[in-house]
Symmetry: C2
Subunit: 242 residues, 2 copies
DNA sequence: CGCTCGTTTCGGCCGGGGCCGAAGTGTCAC
DNA sequence: GTGACACTTCGGCCCCGGCCGAAACGAGCG
């Protein structure tokens, strides 16, 4: 039995390394981070986004799809990819929460503006993050719609509150209704999970928020500001990007 | 601006790759999986466990400690390492849940026995897994001590039940009280989080379970069988390893 | 049917990094 | 002191894998 066999023999259990390897490359990790916006991107979009040749992107995407991190959908001569599901988004988030934030200082005015818009309010896969996302979570805690008694949880008052707003949360799934997601600009936890996703969806559907350009950034609309003030007591200044 | 700079410029946000790289090697991943037992191991123990030279293990451990995945503690000429905390264990678990299980067929009778003991009952960092871990979770669901209404949660009856048993769960932390952990033998979720940890600790403290050899496997003692039958209605056959 | 453009395949280059063994450092026991 | 032992450092080997460009492929479109 040579060395390789020794190693194999001791390597029982799940094969962490092959999954981790998929995220262990800067380019592939960048793809996944980009896809955290929840949308489907084409291969060339991702290639340009990370500054690599299309051929390189193709290979990476193959690996990610084969590893079940991404799902692909082909339309004509385009190949769209998106995250394979919320579980992948959560894996990426928990990895990101542990990673050092190496966001570089903005090099241009427009880059600084983009960064500020993202820091103010953005989607994080399927829920809200940024200053606004954290503020919503804090307000819900203050009003006892959520509590921290045993980790983050929805109170019965919170359940009623959702119902009054006409927000229905898909039940019965394994997905936790409330999950705490640590985001990388605020470094503070905000509301994720099924409730976070439902709330975000509702905010889009009713026009409280609207996407900014083609990024993950969102802006709070006038009706949105009004609704958030009434339902959560959030101030206008907080909701307006300076 | 050359190609490298382009890539750097687009690589904003958390540096997923460097964290993932730590787990992207079979040997380092094996170390972490071994450390999931929650104990502290010495460098040589881990080296022998994975079949690599001590010098190799040293380098890997340095990387893992520098990356904040492991904590080290030096005692005399020994260097003990353990997982840096529950968040690391959870990261490893979520990675493992996504990884293909490449557990090889046992090559010897003793290996088969070890495997069976592990499959029956074992610790998973700080809570219980295996057939027994899943059975406890199922029984708690059936008795409405837990519910699945919005993800896995502790009911008020469950809180009372814990109190009656004299189990106190540290409150007020960010750690979720109840978390679902997918284990790699049963492929079914079982109770983790602060409650899972407290329950496991209680089971050790009161002698319901006892470690088997130096592995993660545990055996249910006679008092343990009695207690689990009385408090959760678990049958003796289920709790005895065949 | 030829042109465009998004995607894929392939060959080849090159750097990073995992591995070992040999030698060095520090700790404990006698 | 003199071993024994746990751990570390270093040099060197070698392979894996990310990158590109060139060329092929195939869907849309006039």
């Amino acid at each position: 039995m040579d060395r390789m066999d020794m190693q194999r023999a001791h390597a029982a259990g799940p094969d962490l390394a092959t999954v981790a390897k998929l995220l262990a490359d800067g380019t592939r990790a960048g793809f996944c981070l980009a896809l955290l916006d929840g949308r489907a991107w084409t291969a060339t979009e991702l290639a340009r986004h990370m500054g690599v040749a299309p051929s390189t992107a193709t290979e990476h995407l193959h690996a990610l799809v084969r590893g079940n991190l991404l799902a692909e959908e082909r339309q004509g001569r385009h190949r769209y990819v998106r995250l394979a599901g919320p579980h992948v988004a959560e894996l990426i988030e928990s990895l990101a929460a542990m990673a050092p934030d190496r966001t570089p200082a903005p090099r241009s005015l427009s880059a600084a503006g983009r960064r500020q818009a993202l820091a103010h309010a953005r989607t994080c896969y399927d829920h809200l993050a940024g200053t606004v996302g954290v503020a919503i979570t804090d307000a819900m805690l203050e009003r006892r719609l959520l509590d921290l008694e045993h980790g983050l949880g929805l109170t019965s008052a919170g359940a009623r509150w959702l119902e009054e707003l006409g927000i229905t949360v898909p039940a019965g799934t394994r997905r936790p209704s409330v999950r705490s997601c640590l985001d990388w600009t605020e470094r503070r936890p905000h509301l994720a999970g099924a409730v976070g996703a439902a709330l975000c969806r509702h905010a889009f559907d009713t026009g409280w928020i609207t996407p900014v350009g083609t990024t993950r950034a969102v802006a709070v609309t006038a009706p949105g500001r009004q609704a958030l003030r009434r339902h959560l007591g959030l101030s206008d200044e907080l909701l307006t990007q300076t």
